[in-house]
Symmetry: C2
Subunit: 182 residues, 2 copies
């Protein structure tokens, strides 16, 4: 019974790695299982559902991302909103963050069309992002700090969107000249 938990965790990690590399578009049970080097039968032994498997994998990804973010911008320091936006923008378009943001967009798209488990997942993750930013901005002079945090997150997410479909140079220039707008 312990073996099962261990196996499940290993599979979960393998799935997370796979999703980061390939995205979660129209991925099937069998592909998922192959990525974790097990049979589809075993995948459904560890997880009750395809949806549960995906949720677990995404939870893993989200956890990794959180660690990365905490490392990048440790919480005690309070930032001016503009400065935080600029720093976060640079972080977002950086190479290590790209796979995460790409995946994030796919989750949002899944949520947009109401496909389980994405709506729930997306809300959770978005709330996490917003809380993360809110915790780090100096609320002095802000009428609605949470709204400002949301705007910053929107800016970040938007850069991720553009990163998918505009050429890299332009995205970097946009992230770099953020100050011209803010």
């Amino acid at each position: 019974m312990v073996a099962r938990e261990v196996g499940r965790l290993q599979v979960q990690a393998a799935l997370a790695r796979h999703l980061l590399q390939t995205g979660l578009g129209a991925i099937s049970l069998r592909q998922l299982a192959a990525a974790a080097r097990i049979s589809d039968r075993m995948l459904l032994y560890y997880f009750t559902d395809k949806a549960e498997a995906l949720s677990a994998a995404m939870a893993q990804v989200a956890a990794e991302l959180t660690v990365q973010l905490e490392t990048a911008l440790p919480p005690p320091t309070l930032w001016q909103p503009r400065a935080l936006a600029a720093a976060a923008a640079q972080l977002t378009v950086s190479a290590p963050m790209r796979p995460y943001m790409r995946l994030w967009i796919e989750v949002v798209a899944g949520a947009a069309r109401g496909e389980v488990p994405f709506p729930q997942l997306a809300s959770q993750i978005a709330a996490g992002f917003i809380a993360y930013v809110e915790l780090r901005i100096d609320p002095a002079g802000l009428a609605d700090p949470r709204a400002t945090a949301t705007t910053i997150v929107a800016l970040i997410d938007g850069l991720a969107v553009i990163a998918v479909c505009a050429d890299e140079d332009l995205v970097n220039r946009a992230a770099a000249t953020l100050g011209d707008l803010l």
Copy 2:
């Protein structure tokens, strides 16, 4: 031979309407055909491919969106970047624009996973958005007007992302207090 063109156009319009309502997530040929009240056989008579049918429908949607945008912010007027960003943000979160933005996110997600015809489509549309903004901002004092336009588009797209997965009130507050950041 003329009948065919006419039929094709009608089907294209029906598909566009359907996509706006339901999104394009994992939509199948048969669903698409049903939405246009024809058989799947006929859909493949009008279009060579599922991909071509989707492209045509999305082109139609994009054209409609362009009209809406031109109406909302006519081109000759030059805006200060911050003012344009604020106006565009309000427009983005407004009810009539929501379905378009939702669809746009799905296109980007398709592009993110490299699924034809979305990468091409997404680049085109994104380039259109950026050009639209660039044409309307006052370049005076901007080091890189296109980069600034890109940032504005990113902000807009980000709001669309957040609109999918945060509660409506928060999104509206973010759009309203944009000035606190810009």
